[in-house]
């Protein structure tokens, strides 16, 4: 089940009032929300629910042993075993067939494939599980009650594509009933409506009309079309992914729960480091806390560069077993390393009188284009296509008509919106809640109608991050 469907609207229309009705009765609410979350997850494939339940049991058991055994050897062994099981399951589903295929290709064999379909959301809940067990081990989060942990692991708004919420952020919210008199409904509606618009109007239109044709047949397109397709993909992936997590955050708010933000106007970043503080923020901090810092972080001279590179390469591989993702991670890792080394280099350069505003604008422009360069590899089905796209950036030739005023307007608008201060959103939401209830409802209903019309009855294209 995915959010922008009639099935989900029906599901949520039932779950929301029941959740608030049962909220004061915690003994009823907990099993109810757990059952609702498993129903949501099993709607895609009931077998997935067993994997989620298995992951929950394994990690809660490990966390219990760790919490009760201090920091002895057993504790460490259990931690390693739990992480190995988590990563092992992820590896089987995500990488085993790729490995078999690679061996087959290089040795000219036809090894059998398992044909395992990647369970939706497995990467996200595995990362959450690892963070929980590690945090219990580090004594940064207390052991959760089994039912609370099960709810945290399966809570349907974040289950499929994040954000990656930590136990320390979510489990305390389960301690008591949420306040039914303080629901930030306007923010929730804004996030859900904005997410629907970003996905159905911006991402799907740019993706089908411009990005797919150019990345499908780069040879057929001239430099202008190719460049705009690269910019278009930057907009498409942002609007696609942030749409889903915005809706997740909004739905959680309606149920009375707060999730951390996952995006903060990423294309206004002044550096790659800044970009990673704004893009998929919950994954960035996960990589930082559970990979980069355990590797040694930035405390080791040259090792800092190695750690940056390793973290980003593994971050790339997390998206899938393909060389394109390795290059994507490599570009970001190399970029972050260069940024780290730059101040020492800049000190030795002669002083310039370039105004700081110009420097900032140049830094933003450069960052955006490095990110776009990396997106080319992320989007391309193989390295050959990625290099073909880059090779066409300077190509002459007639236009094929994929760049239309609509597409141009959507790209420009999506980039321009990033510069609107967050306070404007608060003002709009405050104005919205001053409307009478029926006006709020009708305006949201009309928006849903408009979005259905824009999609032309063809539904919503699959979310890009579902396959990760």
């Amino acid at each position: 089940m995915i959010f922008p469907t009639v099935q989900f609207a029906l599901f949520f229309a039932v779950v929301l009032p029941l959740s608030w009705a049962l909220m004061p009765r915690r003994l009823l609410w907990r099993p109810f929300i757990l059952a609702a979350s498993y129903y949501f997850y099993a709607a895609a494939d009931w077998r997935y629910a067993f994997l989620l339940a298995g992951s929950t049991i394994v990690n809660q058991t490990a966390a219990t042993v760790i919490a009760h055994h201090g920091k002895d050897k057993l504790c460490k062994a259990v931690l390693i075993a739990a992480i190995s099981l988590d990563l092992g399951a992820l590896g089987v589903f995500k990488y085993l067939d790729f490995f078999s295929d690679s061996v087959s290709s290089s040795l000219g064999l036809s090894l059998g494939l398992l044909h395992l379909v990647l369970p939706v959301g497995v990467s996200f809940y595995t990362f959450q599980a690892i963070s929980y067990v590690v945090d219990v081990h580090r004594r940064r989060t207390p052991l959760a009650k089994p039912l609370d942990y099960a709810i945290y692991a399966s809570f349907f708004p974040h289950l499929v594509a994040g954000p990656i919420v930590r136990a320390s952020e979510f489990v305390p919210q389960l301690a008591g009933p949420r306040d039914p008199d303080r629901v930030p409904a306007a923010r929730a509606f804004g996030l859900i409506a904005g997410g629907l618009v970003k996905k159905m109007v911006v991402a799907d239109v740019i993706g089908t009309r411009l990005v797919a044709p150019v990345f499908g047949t780069p040879q057929a397109h001239n430099g202008t079309e190719t460049l705009l397709a690269v910019y278009g993909y930057a907009v498409q992936i942002y609007c696609d992914f942030s749409a889903y997590t915005d809706m997740a955050v909004g739905l959680a708010l309606l149920l009375g729960f707060r999730f951390p933000d996952n995006f903060d106007r990423p294309y206004t970043a002044r550096s790659l480091q800044d970009f990673w503080r704004r893009w998929h923020m919950t994954l960035s901090r996960w990589l930082r806390d559970y990979l980069y810092i355990p590797l040694g972080g930035n405390r080791g001279g040259l090792k800092t560069y190695r750690n940056l590179m390793l973290t980003m390469l593994l971050g790339g591989l997390w998206h899938g077993a393909a060389w394109t993702f390795v290059v994507w991670g490599g570009i970001h890792g190399a970029g972050l390393a260069v940024e780290r080394a730059w101040p020492a280099v800049a000190e030795k350069l002669p002083a310039t009188k370039i105004p700081s505003a110009v420097k900032t604008a140049a830094a933003r422009l450069l960052t955006f284009h490095v990110v776009c360069l990396a997106w080319v590899f992320f989007r391309a089905p193989d390295l050959g296509t990625a290099f073909a796209v880059l090779g066409r950036l300077s190509a002459a030739g007639p236009a094929t008509g994929v760049v239309t005023p609509t597409v141009l307007l959507l790209i420009a608008a999506a980039l321009a919106v990033q510069w609107i201060p967050a306070s404007v959103g608060v003002l709009l939401r405050t104005a919205f809640v001053t409307l009478p209830v029926y006006a709020q409802g009708i305006s949201l209903g009309v928006l849903l109608l408009a979005l259905a019309a824009v999609s032309g009855g063809r539904g919503v294209a699959p979310f890009i991050y579902f396959r990760f």
């Binding site: 930030p184 797919a212 209830v437 409802g441 009708i442 209903g445």
Partner: protein
């Protein structure tokens, strides 16, 4: 709590519920036909039954009260075909296409006998439209690559309609779509790749049964006539689905192949492209195929139905070879 969160306006859960109920009711009333179509497209089960039980009477009422007018106006403004007759009346595809002349059709539904094809030149390339369900997406893009790489006098346009088929015209009517695509793109050739979603019964006949094959074949012919739209120089190359990995699709895809073959003699201008044979191992499913350079390529996706990206180069080459038998491309 952040400063921004402190400034956020808050309301009660009760009021929030009221706003959501009004929003959903508004959307349901103004888009009741769309909701019925969404329900018809769902897998059989209690959710589908509940949705249809709720949406069908609302759809009738909304139609009587003219509440579907905003949606039809929006569709017209956005250039989408009118699909508001999604329930209660038979779709064009369900009608006997050979006998009935649709009032709204922009061109005669039946093509006369096929005339000689137009031979393309670099200045006036062959306009190839690749369309169909999700199977058409990679096939079409790989065909476009081949055409570009070989500098052939052709332009390929890919218009994949994921999740569609011939067995649920109430959800997506390929007859309407074919007319719209023929009018929008004026192709010389339509390459139709379809079948991945056609495991549903047809007119009461179980999927794959003889009656089902006969009805499927009739629908193939009807949609082809709509694509031809009276242009005797246009051709429709209907690509059969590949051999899938598991039941029940093995039987269904085999029957789809049979249905398309059966339709070919009835419509001048319809050609069948057999992908199943050349991309299987003696008629059996295989993950790997050997390319022209002798390399083994993982040709299929996890689902055992779709081709992988490199694997879709195989059907693309088969399609191009089929086109090359009728058109002078080299």
């Amino acid at each position: 709590m952040s400063q921004e969160q402190e400034q956020e306006p808050v309301t009660t859960a009760r009021q929030t519920g009221r706003v959501i109920r009004i929003a959903l009711l508004t959307a349901l009333l103004l888009n009741s036909a769309g909701v019925v179509r969404a329900g018809l497209g769902m897998a059989p089960g209690p959710t589908r039954d509940l949705l249809l039980d709720l949406a069908r009477p609302l759809n009738s009422t909304a139609h009587l009260l003219d509440l579907d007018r905003p949606r039809t106006s929006l569709d017209a403004m956005l250039g989408h075909p009118d699909r508001t007759t999604g329930d209660g009346t038979r779709t064009r595809l369900e009608q006997d296409a050979a006998k009935q002349q649709p009032a709204a059709a922009p061109a005669p539904r039946l093509a006369p006998v096929a005339a000689a094809v137009r031979h393309p030149t670099p200045g006036d390339p062959l306009r190839i439209l690749v369309t169909g369900d999700s199977l058409s997406d990679f096939d079409g893009r790989q065909l476009a690559r081949l055409v570009a790489a070989q500098h052939l006098p052709a332009k390929v346009r890919v218009e994949a309609r994921n999740g569609t088929g011939l067995t649920q015209p109430n959800v997506f009517d390929w007859s309407d779509e074919a007319l719209a695509e023929a009018a929008d793109y004026a192709p010389d050739v339509v390459v139709m790749v379809l079948g991945a979603n056609d495991g549903w019964p047809l007119a009461g006949a179980a999927a794959g049964s003889p009656r089902w094959v006969a009805e499927y074949s009739r629908r193939v012919a009807a949609v082809t006539r709509d694509f031809l739209a009276g242009d005797p120089r246009r051709r429709v190359y209907w690509v059969g689905p590949p051999v899938p990995r598991s039941a029940p699709w093995i039987h269904i895809f085999d029957r789809i192949d049979a249905a398309v073959r059966e339709a070919v003699p009835s419509v001048p201008g319809l050609r069948f492209v057999d992908v199943a044979g050349p991309t299987s191992e003696a008629g059996h499913y295989t993950d790997y195929l050997t390319d022209a350079d002798g390399r083994r390529v993982l040709a299929r996706q996890h689902d055992g139905i779709h081709f992988s990206w490199p694997g879709s180069a195989f059907p693309a080459r088969i399609i191009l070879a089929a086109l090359g038998r009728e058109y002078t491309l080299g």
